[in-house]
């Protein structure tokens, strides 16, 4: 049994659908990278896993975590899973920690609320965890407030906080996007180390293929709330078949690219699932798009090596392959 099985997840708001037919599995200790531009539905999917979407959002499909159907659980049980079995680290470490509370109490309250620990032993655990994420002088740090920490430090505090209860799954939503490049590398290394140390499964959300390539073993490419391509990292990033994935790879700036050569960019701008109900959501920006793409939604096709994608072109223009 996989740790997390997501099947046909859709999220609807009154103004439209933001996630449409998302499916993937994540093994215990594995790492799945969720890639896509902003607005592709990555964060919405993550919040749906935690049950933190706003009230007007309607979630359909099946979310099985450790065998239990998350959507069937009562709110109280879902709350107990949050933080203890599923942790989440957010993008902006500046605003994601409560600026008005000491780091110490933000850490220890996890243990007090979920485990019923006393203040003393909770503090001892918090101290150990701060040291595990390599924050020096941890005892003094516990007494400080978030504004006394640098951005990278705050993200490490955030990670420590979410790992305090040894969750089986950590969702990291753009955990390094708001950080300096050098700090980014440190935090990514820390996440990789902690994953090994705690046997943690990681759901890494990023718009940055480089980040995904570094930490993830599976990758799922999202566009406009729909799955474009999914598979093992070496295969999907090495031999991308979907035009969107290829586009993403092509727009990465590379240090070894000759100076002056313009970076390629995917023409057009991101759409959300609600804008394109029929047809392929990527068609308006796709260089290969034909009339079929506007008309008919491509079906999900498995390819060798456990990968799969949804693209008429990659599938060799099935059915009436008109142009």
């Amino acid at each position: 049994m996989a740790l997390l099985e997501v099947e046909d997840l859709s999220i609807d708001y009154p103004r439209g659908r933001v996630v449409d037919g998302l499916s993937f599995t994540l093994e215990a200790g594995g790492c799945l990278g969720l890639v896509g531009e902003s607005g592709s539905g990555k964060s919405q999917s993550a919040l749906a896993l935690l049950g933190l979407l706003p009230e007007q959002a309607r979630v359909q499909g099946s979310l099985r975590f450790q065998g239990q159907d998350l959507l069937a659980l009562p709110e109280a049980s879902r709350r107990r899973l949050r933080g203890s079995a599923i942790g989440m680290v957010f993008q902006d470490p500046m605003s994601s920690l409560n600026p008005y509370l000491r780091i110490g109490s933000q850490l220890t309250e996890m243990l007090v609320v979920h485990r019923g620990l006393g203040q003393g032993s909770a503090e001892a655990e918090a101290l150990r965890m701060l040291e595990a994420v390599r924050i020096g002088d941890a005892r003094r740090r516990l007494r400080q407030c978030p504004h006394e920490f640098s951005g990278g430090m705050r993200q490490r505090v955030m990670i420590a906080m979410m790992l305090l209860l040894k969750p089986a799954l950590l969702i990291a939503d753009e955990p390094t996007t708001a950080l300096d490049v050098t700090v980014q590398a440190e935090v990514l290394r820390l996440l990789a180390d902690l994953r090994r140390e705690f046997g943690l499964a990681l759901l890494m959300i990023s718009h940055d293929l480089g980040v995904i390539a570094e930490v993830a073993d599976q990758v799922l490419v999202l566009y406009g709330g729909r799955m474009m391509e999914r598979g093992p990292v070496p295969q999907v990033l090495g031999q991308a078949r979907h035009p969107y994935t290829r586009g993403l790879i092509a727009c990465r700036p590379r240090l070894d690219s000759p100076l002056g050569r313009p970076l390629s960019a995917i023409p057009g701008s991101v759409v959300s699932a609600r804008d394109a109900r029929t047809g392929c959501v990527f068609a308006p920006r796709c260089e290969l798009a034909r009339a079929l793409c506007q008309r008919q939604r491509p079906v999900w096709t498995s390819v060798d090596g456990g990968a799969g994608l949804a693209c008429h072109a990659a599938a060799g223009w099935p059915e009436n392959g008109d142009g």
Partner: protein
Amino acid sequence: MSRYALLRLLTALPTLLLLVTLSFFLMRLAPGGPFDGERSLPPEIEASLRAEYHLDEPLPQQYLRYLGGLLRGDLGPSFQYQGFRVRELIAAGLPVSLSLGLLAMALALLLGGATGVVASLRPGSVLDRGLMSLAMLGISVPSYVVGPLLVLLFAVLLRWLPAGGWEPGRWSDLLLPVLALALPQIAAIARLLRGSMLEVLRQPYIRTARAKGLPESRVVLVHALKPALLPVLSYLGPATAGLITGSVVVEQVFGLPGIGRYFVQGALNRDYTLVLGVVLVYGAMIVLFNFLVDLLYGLLDPRLRRA
């Protein structure tokens, strides 16, 4: 922080001095005097009275004399209540005024706070809209309208409570006055706190708190309430001023022997020292409350702690 506190307290002194100075000269420039009673006094008696109270001295000298008295803690003699020092009069009335004001403040914070939080949890719901409509009504109905209406309802029609008056130790006498005084502030605080709660509940750190699996009560009361209280805190200064002016009329409506009635009566009778004394006490209370608010601010907002 103690240095900061001290500095704040020192900068408050000029404000009080300005207040006393303005009031002093304003009163003296006005026509009339304390001895223009209905029956006019024989000139020689009035002259001796004026000499006794130093009213025959040039104005600047009187002013300095008054300030000198203040430094010694002496508010001077009352003109109207002959034989009494202003300090004695204020000491007699202050406990009543203070209990009234502090109880109203406490009630406003508790009830206004609870209302604001409850309303903010389900914005747009029937409960929220109902509570906020009541609050809108609350800020539109001043104490001197609420007071008589409460008396009409509870004392005249229902006969549950006395219409007014005061006996030391009978706390039920304070019930209606406190309610009348507090209602507009309850409404104001409820509106303010609801707004700031809504703002705070949108913050990313609240999402974090929920992602941590904290019970909603803890998310609201620990993670959201503390930052949301900051705007309420800075409203306490104006609220104090509002309560004080409100207490002037509430004391009159309910016939409470506080210091508020000295103020209007004293001014009408040109009881210079009494009015100045009351203004000074009120001013000092406002300054003191603003000072406490500043200290609390420092405690609540860690980013200011080192400033």
